[in-house]
Each structure stands twice: as C-alpha cells, then as structure tokens.
Amino acid sequence: MSAMKTSFTRLALAAGLGAAVAAGGVVAASAEEPKRGGVLRIVVGSKIPSYDGHRESTFGMIHPIRPFYSLLIRVNPDDPQSSDFICDLCEGDVPAPTNDGKTYTFKLRQGVEFHDGTPLTAHDVVATYNKIIFPPEGILSNRVSRFSMVDAISAPDDHTVQFDLKYASPGFLPMVATPFNFVYAKKDIEREDPEGKDPQYGMKWHQNNINGTGAFSFVEHQPGSHVLGKRYEKYHHEGKPYLDGYKAISAPKMSVRIQAIRGGRADIEFRGFPPKSRDDLVKALGDGINVQESAWNCTFGYAGNQTKPLFQDKRVRQAMTLALDRWGASNYLSKIAIVKTVGGLALPGHPVATPEDVLKTYYGYWPDIKKSREKARELLKAAGAEGAHFKIWNRAVDQPYKVVGTWMLDQWKQVGLDVEQVVVPTGPWYAGLRDPNAFDVAIWPSCQSIVNPIVDAGAWLSKDRAADNRGYYTDKVLDEWYDEMNREGDPDKQKEIYRKFEKRVLHDEAHFGQVLWWHKINPHRSFVKGWKIAPSHYLNQSLDQVWLDLPDEERKQRTMDELGG
C-alpha cells in the first residue's frame, strides 16, 4: 500500500516519532486471523456535546461517533504512528498534487452508500468540505483557520473531487486527514426545516442526527449511559468491520473507567490512563491486560492574560517560565500524571522539533533550576512584580489539569509569586477562556490529531487570527513568520522559520509557557486485537480493524446481550 507523505512525515518515520511501546501482553502486529463477531465495550470519559464532527473538538464525541462516519483520507490504521495517509472514501493512492502543488484531485470509490441507502458522490464530499472550510455565518466549524490555503472545492464529475489551493502547502493533506472531517450526505446538509423556521436547518442537522458511511450504523444513544452501533453490512472496506457492534459507555470518573476495565465491564478506553493505574491494572490482571504507550500530540501549557497589566510586562512572563522545573517534573510528574516529555511547540521527535541542546538555552528549559529561579526573581524585581498575586484558571479534570496546575502553583510560589487556583467545570472553563476579563492565567492545552506542527503553530498567532489565543496578545511578527512558513516549499527553510517562531513564543516574548507534552497510555483487555495506538486520542477510531480474540460462544453472547442477536 503506497501512500502520500510530506517530506516531514517521511522524516518523522525515519526518526521513529512516537514509537509505540507495548507492555503487559504482546501488541505487535500479528498474523492471527481476525475473528468476526462480538461487541466491543469502550468506556468514554466525557460527554457528547453534539454529533457534528465539523463543529466539535473533543474525544467525548470522536470516540463514540467516529465509527459511524468515513473520511476522504485517513491515517493508516495499521501504522497510525506514521502519519502515513491512505484512502478511505477515495480510491487507490492518496493523490500527489499537480499545478505546482496547488491542485489535489481525488477519485472516489464507487458503490459506497450512506447508512440510509443514499449513494455517495463527489457532490457529498464537496458539500462536506464547503461546510468545513467555508461555513455560512452562524455555523461553527472548528478548523476553518487551518484550511486557509484552500481556494475552492469542486466536483468535475460524480466521482472526482478537486481542491484548488491558493498556494502549495505541505499542511493540506494532514488537514484533510483530520478525523473530525466526517463526510456527510449533501442532501442532509441541504435539508429544509420541516417547520420552515430555520434557514440553516440542514447545516445543523448533524448536530443531532447521524447518517454516515462508516463501519457501524447508529442504533441508539442513551445520554449519560451509552452509544450503541452495529455492523454496517455494506461498508466499503471489504470484509470489515469484524465486530458485530460496539457500545461506548459513558463514565466521567477515571476511577470508574479503570474499575470497569478491571472488573470486565469494559474492554478498552481510548484516551489514556495515568501510569499508576496502568501498573495497578497490569498487577491485577497480568496477561489479561495489554498496554500500548505512545508520545501524545497534546501540549500542556499556560498563558498570562495580556489584557491585564501584570502580564503585559514580558519580564513577568519570562520569570514565570523560568520558575518551572520542567526536567524534574518530567521525571516525577510522569509517575502520577499523563504528562512526560519536555519539549517546545512541536511534538518532540518530529523533524521540526527543537533539539534538546538548543531548547536548554531557552528560558524555562535551563537544566540548572536554581540558576533559573534566581533569574526569575531578578526579572520579577526589575519588573516591580515581586510577590505578585494572580489566579490560575483551571479545568475541573484531574488528569492532567488539576495535577499539573497544582504543581505549577508550587513552582511559582518558589519564586515568591502569590498564586491561587480557580478550578471550574469544563463548560464554565471554556466560557471563561473566551472572556478576557474572567482570568489572569489560563491553562492552555492544545491537542491535535495529525502531527502537523507547521499548521498547528497557528494556535499561537495574534488574537485576531487565532480564536483560541488564551494570552489575548497581538504579535504581528509571529503572524508574518507563520504565513511565510506555510508558503515555504523548502523543508529546511520552513524548519528555520519554525525555530525562530518557536523561540519568540517561548523565550523572547514568552507569550506561552509550554510545560510538558502528554504521554498516552492505553491499557486494554488482551483479547482486544487490531487496534494500534496513535500519537493522538482522536486518531484511529474507526474501529473497522478491531476484533475480539474470544471464544465463539462468548462473542455470540456479547452480541446477544448488547444487540439482541
């Protein structure tokens, strides 16, 4: 199977980015013949805000809903660590660009049908991507800014989709492969309100309804309890899925999810457990549990709100980053929390990621924490901010938010800052982040799916360009460098621009304090086969390659229990 890769993803492969580690049982690719049947039971730790992938950005939606949908292209489920893209609804290989890198033409598979029987055509894909990239006013699409290179989408015929770009961009294909880009039927997007009230009814239809071409079709959603899906017999990947169905069980508390797996009420959790829980499960279940681990494409950082005078002084921001003992934390916090790796803005191990020796020259990354804190105190004194008081705006989720937030508080206290923590539930927390008057310092995590640091650097642009800029700053230098970087065709030059962009964000201006990168640990029942860990909890969730290595009777019983036969 050949696949289109960018220069960077090829390099990433060579660098062994995010090599998955297996512990407990053996998770290596095996030649075992997949067994058909049975129902997979997943535990999910977050609610489903809506079913619309274009709108949402949470694993709480992806894990239970992604199996109902297909993508135009996707990360290879057999090698999800690689950013090796393969066709899902397109046919053959992922196309190479033409027209100096500015045109991508996808040929679609024929004979694909939506779960309601509607045949898939290129017009469905065009309508889908128009909704994602050019949503009408009033329709939220979460990844609009990342598709800034796209000029137009068209369907030359019923089975061909063409993307015309404004400029050649290596970030385009990774954006197309984003797992939130569910392909919808055009007729659903264009549905009219039966009551004639809402002219955007069709654009919102997928928030509450499901009709995809995925490996499983929707059976039921009991809010607060579970989502149930059953095998779609006309699925376009022949012979798949292997499962009769899956049940995504809602369990917001981590302790409940761990106990569900331990007690045999669930088979797998796709987000990730802390190391201690992994150890407990392995100790309790021995060979009955397999553990897959991977680098995780999620940053955990913070930003001082630059609408507030204290954080307008870059010496204060620099002092804050200097106070954090990242190297120490990587050692001890990784024992209790789902964070581990010290890094800059790009996932460590990726070709554009700054090497450790360079990183150690940036504020906050010095190996000598005493010296670092001395410098922090000096800067605070110079800024007249000794003993300054502020509050951290944190999310009421233990892992890793509260654990790392409480650690940060202790670190800042050690340079004389007087810090409090305000911990609020997810909804109000997000609402607060959107209100610059609501907080002093925001915890600023950034989780992406495909490892695509060049495009993802868009998160640190000025507030008028990056909707999720939690520092509320304007830095036109960063904006210029970002545009320059994304239009640059030479990977070496691109890397060079990325480095100065990163240095400005982390060191020179200290707009953003990157704390640690997350580390993904997925313990699962050892009879769950075919699923491979990706460097993101959003990736590889179609479940079409998953099967259960259980005795025939047990698989049948599961199907009877969950689907009634």
């Binding site: 201690k276 150890d279 916090l333 233990d398 509260k402 911990v423």
Partner: protein, 302 residues
C-alpha cells in the same frame, strides 16, 4: 434569700449547694450523666486545639510538595503517609481542621443568627408577615441541604467564602423554623405584652426579651449545624465545588488522587475520611448531649 423559712423555698435552698460544687466535680458528674456527650466534647476540643495550634503540632508545611516522597506509605517520617504530590497527609489533616472549623463555625454562626432573628421576628409579628415568610421558608426547605448548597455555589463560584455562603443559605430557614416554634410560645407569655405596654420597640422586644428565651433550641441547632456544615463543605470540596487546591481540606483530599490511588495508596483516602467521620460524629454527640441538658422536658424525664 435573706430568710429561710418553710415549704418549697426551703427545699430550693436545700438543693442550692449543687451550684457551689467546684468545676471539676461538676465536670465529673456531667461526664457520668452524659458520657457520650463528653466524648463528643473531647473530640470537638481536640479539633479546635488542632486547628488553633496547627503550626505547632505539624512537622511539615501542608503545602510543601516533596516529589521524592510521592505516595510514601505511613512511617516514622510521615505518620499518615504522603499524597500524590509528596505532601504530608497528617499535616494536611491538621490544617484541614482549620478549614473545616472555619467553614463550620462561620456558616453555623451566621446561618444560625440570621435564622434566630428571622424566626423570632416571624413569630413576634405573626399574621400575614408570618404566613408569607413561612411559605418562603417552605420553598427553601423543599431543597435538600446539599442540593441547595450546590445550587448556590454554582451561581457564586468556588472558594472558601462562597462555600460558607452556600451553606448559610440552607441553614437559615431550618433554624428559623425551629426557633419560630419556640418563639410562638414565648410571644403568648404576659411579659411580652408588658414590654409592649411599656412602649418598647419591636427590635428591643425581639432581641432582648424573646431571643434570649429561645437560646436552648437555638444552641442545639447551631451545634448540629457545625457538624452538618463540615460535612457539606467536605461534600462540596469532594465534588470540586468547594475550596480549591492546594488548600488543605478534608473533602478535597478525598478527591482526585485519593480515588485514583485508593488501592495502591489507601492512606491518601482513609485518613481524611476518618477525620470527617470523627468530626461530624463529635459534633453530633456534643449536640445531642447539649439537647439533653438544655431541653427541660428531657431533663425532667431523666
């Protein structure tokens, strides 16, 4: 009492020496009569002492993270072990008593006082005011205590002050209702009419003549409230809506890491759980004993 004559007065005089007993004798007698109450009082006293002298009786700063001792089991260095950030569980429990008592006493005192004034006023004025006021109280009392506190803290936000406010709100109608029933009897006693006839103002009659006479049920209520407030604060903190990290608070200590590591490091959950149980138990025992001592019906039946 210049003259000692006959009859009931003589009997009263004969019983008088009880008041002259030294305090330790009286304490011994009370302990004999109310052993459970004294046990409760001892627990409460210990808590108060712990809270007041927390700086003296703790070996470590409760906020000090010691990453080399994360989740260390109880031993000579850390008698209750350490939590996930290497903080001494014993020190956090002792300082947690400060948080618990501050929240407990502040909310019970303010909630009780407001309830006292409103309850006595309602009984004193009677009529339409009493009718409307009691229906408002009915509405408040329709909500279970924790639910009402949750609602208030959801509106006001988290933090110690807001938690106190959240607990005060459901306490006020509960106290007002009990106090009102006692005050209704007081209102019918002629000295209230006499006070009115003397031209005293409403405030004076309520505060100086009626409120002191409902002190017995009031004190019993307030004592019980302290225990309830501690439990409510712990519940709110456990739910993440009370005081916030790194403040040492028992409910907060039961949350997060305690759940996650309950199996491999049970001390993180067990000791704060015991502290909450003991504190509530102590205040309830003390409150029951106080009721037995102060309630004349129960006293006469003994």
């Amino acid at each position: 009492m210049a003259t000692v004559s006959q009859g009931s007065l003589a009997v009263a005089m004969f019983e008088e020496p009880a008041a002259l007993k030294p305090w330790h004798v009286k304490l011994r007698e009370t302990a004999r009569k109310q052993p459970v109450g004294v046990a409760g009082a001892i627990i409460v006293m210990l808590m108060v002492l712990m809270a007041v002298f927390a700086d003296v009786v703790t070996p470590y700063d409760p906020l000090l993270n010691s990453y080399e001792y994360m989740l260390a089991p109880p031993d000579g260095n850390f008698i209750f072990g350490t939590d996930m950030l290497g903080r001494d569980v014993y020190s956090r429990i002792v300082y947690g008593a400060r948080t618990a008592l501050f929240v407990g006493f502040a909310s019970a005192a303010v909630g009780g006082f407001l309830g006292l004034i409103l309850g006595v006023s309602s009984a004193y004025f009677g009529g339409l005011f009493d009718l409307i006021f009691q229906r408002v109280m009915d509405v408040f009392m329709a909500f279970p205590l924790v639910i009402m506190a949750l609602a208030v803290v959801s509106i006001l936000g988290t933090g110690t002050e807001n938690v106190i406010l959240a607990i005060i709100v459901p306490f006020v109608p509960r106290c007002a209702r009990v106090v009102r029933s006692s005050a209704l009897q007081i209102r019918e006693i002629p000295y209230i009419d006499a006070a009115k006839a003397c031209g005293f103002g409403h405030a004076r009659i309520i505060l100086r003549h009626m409120a002191p006479n409902v002190m017995a049920p009031f004190l019993i209520m307030v004592t019980a409230f302290v225990g309830q407030a501690i439990l409510t604060e712990a519940s709110l903190s456990y739910l993440g809506l009370g005081v916030q990290e790194p403040t040492p608070a028992w409910g907060l200590m039961l949350q997060g890491g305690a759940e996650e590591f309950a199996e491999s490091a049970p001390w993180v959950a067990v000791f704060p759980g015991l502290a909450i149980t003991l504190a509530v138990f102590g205040f309830n025992l003390f409150g029951d004993a106080l009721r037995d001592v102060l309630d004349p019906r129960l006293r006469s039946s003994q």
